[in-house]
């Protein structure tokens, strides 16, 4: 039962990453590459009717985490207090940037909200990557000092950084060189992903340039991924033990690299949606590989006193989990129907949607 909810939660997070990921990426493209009003229109049109529903995957995944693994929800949300609240602020800025831009026809007003939307998107991509890095690295559960827990075994609190920015320091921080590296992976990967979405959904003049951007960033991404893999063992002495014990898990790394290598052919793709498929494969594969490498842990402990949080020791009680399956399947079926309707109505190119012209 825990396993079912674990897989469900991971799939929901992966869907969130792929869907809202293109929104963040579009925001980053908007920030760095959209020069003309036409470029900007193309980008906001491409995500306009979708971003709100995409964000719901985060809320829904949060809800499932809350009810299926309440101890993990409580521990991680209070422990990562500051970055989570800042993510909230950024989500607010990003959303109002999108929503308010078109409400007043004044180029100063629009310049402000363009920047709010773009910068918030960039920082969100960075923060989500850093968050993933924190989960992989682990935290000092129970806040052990000199061999003694100062809090209950599953609680902790992390400041934003420690002065050494080292993932191996005695007092950890949210931001260290390892988590920032994963943050950069996320920024580059989502920029590529967003560019692919814009190419897919618009006939913008920007598209030719974006294909070049995807190609170059893809090379950067490959380097970053290889570097992260090489230094992973500093964080976790035996990062691949799950893959060695359960060989079918190799499918996830294979998917990841299929995504990257596929994208090197971006300039010769005849179908505009193909790039998006490959960057989705990369995101899904990368996320699943990371989750698989620490399984069954959900939040590793960096001390020897308190055990890591695993799917067994943070799950809710049996009855709640099984009764939850009933409504979850009904809800999921409905969600699939909504998605089909939504993407059918807004299928194809979106240049004429007129987002923000209220």
């Amino acid at each position: 039962m825990e396993l079912f909810w674990y897989i469900t939660l991971m799939i929901m997070l992966a869907v969130y990453l792929i869907l809202d990921g293109y929104d963040f990426g579009a925001g980053i493209i908007h920030l760095f590459f959209a020069k003309t009003e036409k470029d900007k229109k193309a980008i906001t049109n491409a995500i306009g009717p979708f971003w709100d529903a995409n964000e719901v995957w985060l809320i829904a995944a949060g809800g499932v985490l809350f009810f299926a693994f309440p101890t993990l929800y409580a521990s991680s949300f209070s422990g990562f207090y500051l970055p989570l609240i800042m993510i909230l602020w950024l989500l607010i800025f990003r959303a109002i940037g999108l929503e308010l831009r078109g409400q007043v026809n004044n180029h100063l007003w629009q310049a402000v909200w363009d920047k709010a939307f773009g910068i918030a998107s960039l920082l969100l991509a960075l923060f989500f990557g850093i968050a993933l890095g924190n989960v992989v690295r682990g935290v000092n559960l129970g806040m052990v000092e000199n061999g003694v827990s100062t809090h209950e075994a599953h609680y902790f609190f992390l400041p934003l950084w420690n002065p050494t920015f080292s993932p191996q320091a005695e007092h950890l921080g949210i931001i260290d060189w390892f988590t920032v590296l994963l943050g950069l992976v996320a920024v580059v990967a989502l920029t590529i992903h967003g560019a692919n979405w814009i190419i897919f959904k618009t006939n913008s003049e920007l598209n030719t340039k974006l294909r070049k951007v995807v190609f170059v960033l893809n090379a950067v991404l490959l380097v970053l991924v290889v570097v992260s893999l090489l230094i992973w063992h500093i964080i976790e002495p035996n990062p691949f033990h799950n893959f060695l014990e359960t060989p079918w898990l190799w499918i996830f790394p294979v998917i990841t690299f299929t995504g990257i290598f596929g994208l090197f052919k971006v300039k010769s793709f005849t179908k505009d949606g193909l790039g998006f498929v490959f960057s989705s494969l990369f995101l899904f594969g990368g996320f699943a590989s990371t989750a698989a490498s620490i399984f069954p842990k959900l939040l590793p402990s960096t001390n020897n006193i308190n055990p890591s949080l695993t799917i067994e020791n943070v799950a809710a009680h049996e009855y709640g989990l099984s009764v939850g399956m009933n409504w979850f399947f009904i809800a999921l079926l409905l969600v699939v129907v909504y998605l089909i309707v939504q993407y059918k109505v807004f299928k194809g190119k979106m240049d004429d949607v007129g987002y923000g012209e209220h």
Partner: protein
């Protein structure tokens, strides 16, 4: 420790108060937009479709504000109330996760279609998307109040040895006697807000002699919706909700009513007075004898327990706050019924649009349903204190154990600054939309 709890409470109270300014309008307004759209489909008179379009603009802005201020609510259960989430997550997480899965997906998927899809979908399907957005927002309210009701009157649970609350009866969450009166009371109150806002803007247009055709339509619709909803808020839903408090939280009821002593020959209803908790009495009291007993038990001399009959450890934490919140809500609710009755009479006599003083009153009344809704929620929340889960888990036991008060104050100040900015932008933009007014489109 005390400081920490104080900032945690203030932050939640502040963010949820600000958040609920928006859903209370969108829930009611979605119903009214669906009505305008339905009227258009039936009569084919363009005015109704144009009215729907105008209100959709206001709806969209409110909805966006509701979404962005709503996400922090779900996060804060974990960030600030970790102990509460850990202990009760198996239960309240259930209804909160259902809200995400059932209503947020529904609303967000069809809102895009509703706002941008009129040309693509045609009017009938467009009406349907509006209806689905309405359904999603009311389902959301339902699941939030199911969660709230479990905290007020816990059902279908057992407590394990390690202190965790686990669910043992899923359907009990939805047959909770607290749920239905509270839900209907809240939804009717949400329609009150939207009806007053629609009538206020109608009155503004008629009085300023601008868009007066739409002004009259808004007035007529707003007054009818307003009359029906303000009556339903009081009776039967408010009445039933209050009877739940009498039965399950009698000490809260005594504090709400300012009843320091049991009155053997039946209790008076207090209209005005200031609670003096030290001396256990009301200062400057104006009261009507026996009415409270009659309203509660339909008997003039029925006894209602005063605060003197309870252990002080069980008293609501903030008796004056609770008393004022409740009295402001009830007082305003009564004024709403009175004003809407007068306006309806004039509407029926076809004299409403010329009765200037009623139009002025309707226009200035717009902020007050927001106050009534907010104080209504304060009544429920302050009434539950000092408990998070009534009689089982104290608020002081629910906060996050590792988040220091300095960090909470930091985020609280951040939220205050951010929300002030949001509120200011919101008012400017609403002003802009209202000033521009509904646009007549030839179909």
């Amino acid at each position: 420790m005390e400081d920490m709890l104080f900032y945690d409470r203030i932050q939640f109270a502040f963010t949820v108060t600000f958040h609920y300014l928006f859903p209370q309008l969108t829930m009611g307004l979605s119903l009214m937009i669906v009505y305008f759209k339905w009227k258009f489909l039936k009569t084919k008179i363009d005015k109704y479709n144009d009215a729907a379009k105008f209100w959709m603009k206001i709806f969209a802005l409110n909805f966006a504000m509701g979404v962005v201020t709503g996400i922090p609510m779900e996060f804060q259960f974990g960030t600030n109330w970790a102990k509460f989430s850990e202990l009760t997550g198996g239960i309240i997480g259930q209804t909160l996760a259902m809200e995400g899965m059932f209503s947020f997906f529904l609303e967000s998927s069809f809102l895009g279609l509703f706002l941008f899809g009129e040309k693509l979908l045609g009017h009938k399907l467009h009406f349907l998307t509006g209806f689905l957005v309405f359904l999603g927002s009311w389902a959301s309210g339902f699941l939030i109040i199911a969660t709230h009701s479990w905290m007020q009157y816990p059902v279908g649970y057992e407590i394990l040895e390690n202190g965790k609350y686990v669910l043992n009866n899923f359907s009990a969450l939805f047959s909770n006697p607290w749920l239905w009166p509270s839900y209907l009371h809240n939804q009717a109150a949400s329609v009150v807000t939207s009806a007053f806002v629609v009538s206020a803007i109608g009155a503004f247009y008629v009085l300023s002699n601008k868009h007066s055709e739409f002004g009259k339509l808004f007035l007529k619709t707003g007054v009818v919706f307003g009359l029906v909803s303000s009556i339903i808020v009081a009776f039967p839903t408010g009445d039933l909700a209050a009877k739940n408090v009498v039965e399950h939280q009698p000490v809260t009821f005594a504090a709400m009513e300012g009843l320091f002593e049991t009155q053997p020959k039946g209790s008076e209803i207090v209209l005005i007075g200031q609670p003096n908790v030290l001396e256990k009495k009301l200062d400057n009291k104006i009261a009507v004898p026996n009415i409270l007993s009659f309203l509660t038990y339909q008997k003039w001399d029925a006894q209602i327990k005063g605060l003197n009959e309870f252990d002080e450890a069980l008293y609501p934490t903030n008796i004056p706050g609770l008393y004022y919140a409740y009295h402001i809500m009830v007082g305003l609710g009564t004024i709403f019924i009175g004003l809407m009755l007068l306006a309806s009479v004039q509407l029926f006599r076809k004299k409403l649009y010329g009765t200037k003083w009623i139009l002025w009153a309707l226009m200035f009344m717009a902020p007050f349903p927001y106050i009534a809704n907010t104080t209504g929620w304060y009544t429920a929340e302050l009434g539950r204190q000092p408990w998070l889960v009534y009689n089982l888990l104290r608020t002081s036991e629910g906060a996050s154990p590792t988040v220091s008060s300095g960090n909470t104050l930091f985020t609280l100040l951040g939220f205050i600054g951010l929300y002030l900015l949001l509120g200011l932008l919101f008012l400017i933009l609403i002003g802009k939309i209202v000033n521009k007014g509904p646009q007549t489109v030839k179909h």
